[in-house]
C-alpha cells in the first residue's frame, strides 16, 4: 500500500476498523496514552475530545499525530513482508593472525549447517563476529562477506538493521518475567504473525521435544533449566525469527537433543553456523570450517564414514550425560552406571 492510501484510510476509516485489520495499531495509541478515545470514530474526530495539553507533552499536535499514525501504518505494513530471504553467503578470505593468507573464498547455501572447529583462542568467535557484522575488510581478519554472490553496500547494511543474523550463545538468558506462552505471544505479535496461536503451539511443542524434561506453557521463562532455555531459544529462532542466518557459539551439553536442534534450524531455510568442540555437533553439520591461528585453513565435507559414526557417538554422549546426571544427584558410580542404558 502507498503512503497516500494509508492517509486516506487514516482520515476516513473508523479506528476500530483499522485496528481490526492491523492489530498492532493499538500500540500506537497506548504509546501516546490515548486509550480512552472513541474508537468508533475516525482518528481526527476521535482526537477532538482530547485536550491539546495532553498530546503536547509528547511534543505533538493533532496534525502531527495524523502524520505519525500514517508513518506507523506504513512502517508496520512493511515489516510483515520484509523477511530478508537470501540464498547464499560467501566468505571472501582475509588473513590469519600472522598475516598468512587463508582460503580464497567459499560459499554456504540456505539449508546448510556449517560447524566451525579449532583450538580455543584460534579465532572461531572472530569468524562468527565477521559474519555478524557483514565484514567489509574492516575487521582484524580483513575478511569480506557477500550475500547472494554480491557485495553489500553500506546503505544496505544500515537498512538491514541487524535483521540478517540471529545469534545464540551460552551467555544469553531470558530477562523478561513472562510465561512461555506470553513470551512467545510477544515475539509473534512483534513479527505481526498472522496465525499467531498456531505458531506459538508449534514452537512450544518443538521446544519440549528438544528439551529432555518437559515444561508447560505457563512456566515462567526465567524458571526454565539451562537445557529448557536453550531448547526454547532454538525453537523460537526456528519458528519466529526472520533472520536467515543463525550463528551459534557453543551450545553446552545441557541435556537437549543438539543434533535435532540444528537440523530444525536448517530445515527452516536458514544457514546455520555453529562454533563447537562437540564431536556430535561438528559431525552433524554438512561441512566444517577448520580454524588455525586465526585463519580458515580447510573446509571439510562431512564424509559418509563420519556420518556413519554418529550413532556410536550419540551413545557415548548419552553415557556421559547419564554419568553427569548421576553425579549431580549425589549418586555413586559403578560399572553398571557406565554401561547400563536402562538404569537411571
Amino acid at each position: 500500500m502507498t503512503a497516500e492510501k494509508y492517509l486516506e484510510m487514516a482520515i476516513a476509516a473508523p479506528l476500530h476498523k483499522i485496528i481490526a485489520e492491523h492489530p498492532i495499531c493499538r500500540d500506537f495509541f497506548m504509546n501516546l496514552r490515548l486509550t480512552n478515545i472513541d474508537f468508533n470514530l475516525p482518528l481526527m474526530q476521535a482526537l477532538d475530545n482530547i485536550a491539546e495539553d495532553d498530546i503536547s507533552e509528547f511534543g505533538l499536535d493533532k496534525g502531527m499525530i495524523l502524520r505519525e499514525f500514517c508513518q506507523f501504518l506504513e512502517t508496520f505494513g512493511k515489516v510483515a513482508s520484509d523477511d530478508a530471504a537470501i540464498r547464499s553467503l560467501t566468505i571472501i578470505g582475509g588473513h590469519g593472525k600472522s598475516g598468512e593468507a587463508e582460503i580464497e573464498q567459499w560459499t554456504a547455501s540456505v539449508g546448510e549447517i556449517i560447524s566451525i572447529v579449532g583450538p580455543t583462542g584460534a579465532g572461531k568467535s572472530r569468524l562468527l563476529a565477521d559474519i555478524e557484522c557483514l565484514a567489509d575488510g574492516d575487521t582484524p581478519t580483513g575478511r569480506r562477506i557477500h550475500i547472494d554472490g554480491k557485495e553489500i553496500s553500506d546503505e544496505r547494511r544500515f537498512d538491514m538493521e541487524g535483521k540478517l543474523v540471529a545469534q545464540l550463545s551460552q551467555n544469553m538468558n531470558f530477562v523478561m518475567d513472562l510465561t512461555v506462552k506470553e513470551f512467545l505471544g510477544m515475539h509473534a505479535s512483534s513479527r505481526l504473525t498472522r496465525d499467531a496461536e498456531n505458531t506459538i503451539v508449534k514452537c512450544f511443542e518443538c521446544a519440549n521435544e528438544l528439551a529432555g524434561e518437559k515444561f508447560l506453557l505457563d512456566t515462567k521463562v526465567t524458571q526454565l533449566s539451562g537445557g529448557q532455555s536453550r531448547a526454547l531459544m532454538i525453537a523460537d529462532t526456528a519458528y519466529m525469527s526472520s533472520s536467515p542466518v543463525v550463528l551459534i557459539d557453543e551450545i553446552e551439553n545441557a541435556g537437549i537433543d543438539r543434533r535435532q536442534a540444528i537440523q530444525i534450524l536448517a530445515q527452516k531455510e536458514k544457514i546455520v553456523f555453529i562454533s563447537t568442540h562437540d564431536p556430535l555437533l561438528a559431525l552433524s553439520a554438512d561441512k566444517r570450517i577448520v580454524i588455525k591461528n586465526g585463519g580458515i585453513s580447510r573446509i571439510i565435507e562431512t564424509s559418509a564414514e563420519e556420518k556413519g559414526c554418529l550413532g556410536a557417538i550419540e551413545k557415548l554422549d548419552a553415557t556421559l550425560y547419564r554419568l553427569r546426571t548421576c553425579l549431580r544427584h549425589g549418586q555413586e558410580i559403578s560399572m553398571d552406571t557406565v554401561k547400563g542404558e536402562e538404569q537411571q
Binding site: 500500540d27 500506537f28 497506548m30 504509546n31 509528547f58 511534543g59 505519525e68 508513518q71 506507523f72 506504513e74 512502517t75 508496520f76 515489516v79 563476529a129 555478524e132 557484522c133 574492516d138 575487521t139 553500506d154 547494511r157 544500515f158 538493521e161 541487524g162 540471529a166 545469534q167 545464540l168 550463545s169 551467555n171 544469553m172 538468558n173 531470558f174 530477562v175 523478561m176 513470551f183 512467545l184 510477544m186 515475539h187 512483534s190 513479527r191 531459544m233 523460537d236 529462532t237 519466529m240 525469527s241 526472520s242 533472520s243
Partner: protein
Amino acid sequence: MKLITFAGPPSSGKTSVIIKLIEAMNVEVKEIGVVKFDCLTSFDNLRYEEVGVRVETGFSGKLCPDHFFVSNIEAAVEWGIKSGFKILVSESAGLCNRCSPYIQGILSVCVIDNLSGVNTPRKIGPMLKMADIVVVTKGDIVSQAEREVFAFNIKQVNTAARIIFVNGITGQGAPLLAKHLQGAREITGLRDMKLRFTTPAAVCSYCTGEMRIGAEYQMGTMKRMEFKSR
C-alpha cells in the same frame, strides 16, 4: 568541526560505545574531544582520559540537566573549535524520560540497552523518539527473541530511526556506527540553532528551593494528579 550528541539512560553503555566508536573512527585521538554533562558525580572522565581523549565535565547540580545542557553546549562547541578538534562528542545521561538534548540539524544518537526490558523503548519518550540513530547495547546477554522485540518497540516510537546494535565491551558494531556518523555536518557554532523538543517546564517553587509540602507553598507551573473515588 562535527558535533555529535549522545544521550541515553544511566548505564545504558554511552561511554563504552563512544570509546569503541573513537577506536573505530579513522582519526587521531587528539582530534576528538568529549563533553560530558552529568548531574552530581561522574567518573567517565577517567575512562576517556585513559584512552587519551580530552574531556570536560559539567555538573548540573540543582538545575534541570536539560536546561544546563542547552545553556552550555554553545560554549562547548567554541571550546572544541579552539582546541582544534575535528569531532566533538557530547554525552548526557538522560535523567528523566522527558529529556532530549538534541539540536535540529545536529546528528543525535540515543543509546539504550536490552537489559532495560523490552517495553522500555515505549516509555522513554522524546530522548528516543527524536534521535536520528538508536544504538542498542547488551545484546550479548539476552535472547534473540528479546532483541527482536526490543528493536520492534523502538520502531514503534521512532519509525524513522536507524537502529544499530553495538557491543560496548567488544566494540562489535562500532565500525558500522562510525561509518554512519561520517555524515555528520560541519559546524562553526550553534548560535540560533534550535532544540528538537522543548525542555521540561521547570519553574515551580520547588525548582527554586522550596522544601515544604502543602498547597500554600506551591507556585508557578504545577500539574495535579486526579484521584478518582469509586
